[in-house]
């Protein structure tokens, strides 16, 4: 059964001002346990609004969000528990650190859950291990850490709630390739340890291809595509038309196909592109 499901979600901002926006329009999808889903769309496509609806921060104007088959708005206690069961990590989460020590900051979520001291300690240690934050740093102020360590500490704060659905909004924003690989490693190890569903919001098709089983493409508040990675990449041209950056390898193969080369379109890494071109050239030159 799906761990999370949305039914025809709609939402708008700033009604009655000249800046009115329709943020979401009739969005329905499901996410299974253990699945990794990437939500792609450019700024203003409605993906951030969608994320805040999944853990009940925003209430849809119409439609519903179901966690484990139950409407998250069905009763007050359940709505509150959803905050912890659907962990939402905002963009640039390091800007939300506030405690005196990293330990206390990571413990903020578990503490709000009402857990005992011993359980909190276990969770903080475990979360710190998953994000690769050395024990020695736990008693330091989060404001003394380097940029990369701050981000880890903030992500650990969400992981420590041990959510069944982990949502990360642009977790690699501003990071270099090494930092990005580290974050992806963390997400995978959390998933392996807990079988949680992971939803990652990103601008980057490369990131989505690297991490996700399935991709949801948002455009102007609507769910434009919903499919496996290779299904989505078959629509490379449509994706470009709605302003998304497709990976350079995908674009290369698309351009070669347009020039009359018989290549398979669902390619999204340099390795796969080289394999595909090699096979094609060998066929050609035999």
């Amino acid at each position: 059964m799906a761990i999370i499901e949305t039914r025809r979600l709609s939402f708008g901002y700033s009604h009655g001002t000249p800046f009115e926006i329709t943020a979401l329009d009739d969005v329905s999808f499901t996410v299974e346990k253990g699945e990794t889903v990437a939500v792609i769309g450019h700024t203003g496509s409605g993906k951030s609004t969608l994320m805040q609806m999944l853990n009940g921060l925003l209430t849809p104007e119409s439609g519903a969000v179901l966690l484990d088959g139950k409407d998250i708005r069905s009763d007050k206690a359940f709505t509150r528990s959803v905050r912890f069961r659907v962990g939402l990590c905002f963009q640039y989460p390091e800007y939300q650190l506030f405690e005196e020590t990293c330990y206390k900051d990571i413990a903020f979520g578990p503490k709000n859950m009402g857990l005992g001291e011993e359980e909190i300690r276990r969770r903080v240690t475990e979360a710190a291990a998953i994000v690769g934050l050395p024990e020695a740093l736990l008693q330091r102020s989060p404001f003394e850490l380097s940029g990369g360590q701050k981000r880890r500490c903030a992500i650990a704060g969400v992981i420590a709630m041990r959510p069944e659905v982990l949502i990360l909004d642009e977790p690699t924003a501003g990071l270099d390739p090494r930092g990005r690989d580290d974050i992806f490693g963390m997400i995978r190890s959390y998933q392996q340890a807990t079988e949680a569903a992971v939803i990652i919001v990103t601008h980057s098709m490369e990131d989505a291809a690297m991490l996700a089983d399935r991709i949801l493409v948002m455009n102007r508040g609507k769910l434009a595509f919903n499919g496996t990675v290779s299904e989505i990449f078959r629509h490379a041209e449509e994706l470009e038309a709605i302003g998304l950056n497709i990976p350079a390898s995908t674009k290369l193969i698309a351009d070669l196909r347009r020039a009359g080369c018989e290549l398979s379109p669902d390619v999204y890494t340099a390795q796969a592109a080289a394999d595909e071109i090699e096979a094609y050239l060998r066929r050609k030159t035999v």
Binding site: F19, H42, T43, G44, E144, S146, G147, G148, A173, G174, L175, D176, P177, R178, G179, H203, S204, G243, L244, N245, P247, A248, S249, K251, L252, D255, L256, A259, G260, C261, A270, Q271, A273, A274, I277, E278, Y280, L281, K284, T285
Partner: protein, 285 residues
Amino acid sequence: MMTEDLIVFDHVSYTYDDEETEKTVYALKDVSLTVRQGEFVVVLGHNGSGKSTLAKLSNSIFLPSEGKVFVRGMDTSVTENEFPIRKTMGVVFQNPDNQIVASIVEEDVAFGPENLGVPPKEIRRRVDEALKAVDMYDYRMHETHRLSGGQKQRVAIAGMLAMQPECIVFDEPTAMLDPKGRREVMQIIRRLNKEQGMTVVFITHYMEEAVHADRVVIVNDGGIAADGSPVSVFADREMLARCGLNVPEIAEVAYQLRSRGFDVPGSVLTEEALVDAVLRLAGKN
């Protein structure tokens, strides 16, 4: 005049004191670098490599701990040179929100020339021209905080252009932008370099943005690990890996094909070039 030296880093080190360990840390160590007029230089390095310190040293916001930085022959450590240098060297920073001073687009762009004491009519002309150069003229009366990241960054660039600098240093201007914003900003910067001959120093960690540069400088651990044409720098895969950087994706495909025995020249870095090379190998041209 085209090859005149605009910025010269002469054995520059920059140090700061780590409060925790009370040790002196080198952000940059013994860096020598020359940027010539009209060049498009891309500076690459991972986070914390020291590349952003370069930007602040280039217009006397920071002063070198050792060595000297010269802009058009003016020493950045001489106080009287401060304003002439900042007029010559514009800097655009990473966070578009934190460099916009005024609430309305055209009023922000006017801020620089107003500080320089330019006459009102001339400011108006410069502001309009600068906004047209970054394709933001139609937004001149808009509120800055309602713009997209890419638009804000273009306003920041216009703010520099209105001061009529000879060179603009871009300190990771695309790091906080979405792909659309990144494309817009890159397009404007390349156009400034090609059409107006603006000297550009572009600091980034996106490898793709380096492909069209005249020159690529790799910064690692506070020193310069490589300095040369994009083709020569991206050919040194070991050095890039050591510096925590990837090869641009197209260059990687080209490399893979080359290592499998196909005749793809080492100069292939762009998609168009690789498409041509593959079509030629397939006998389609």
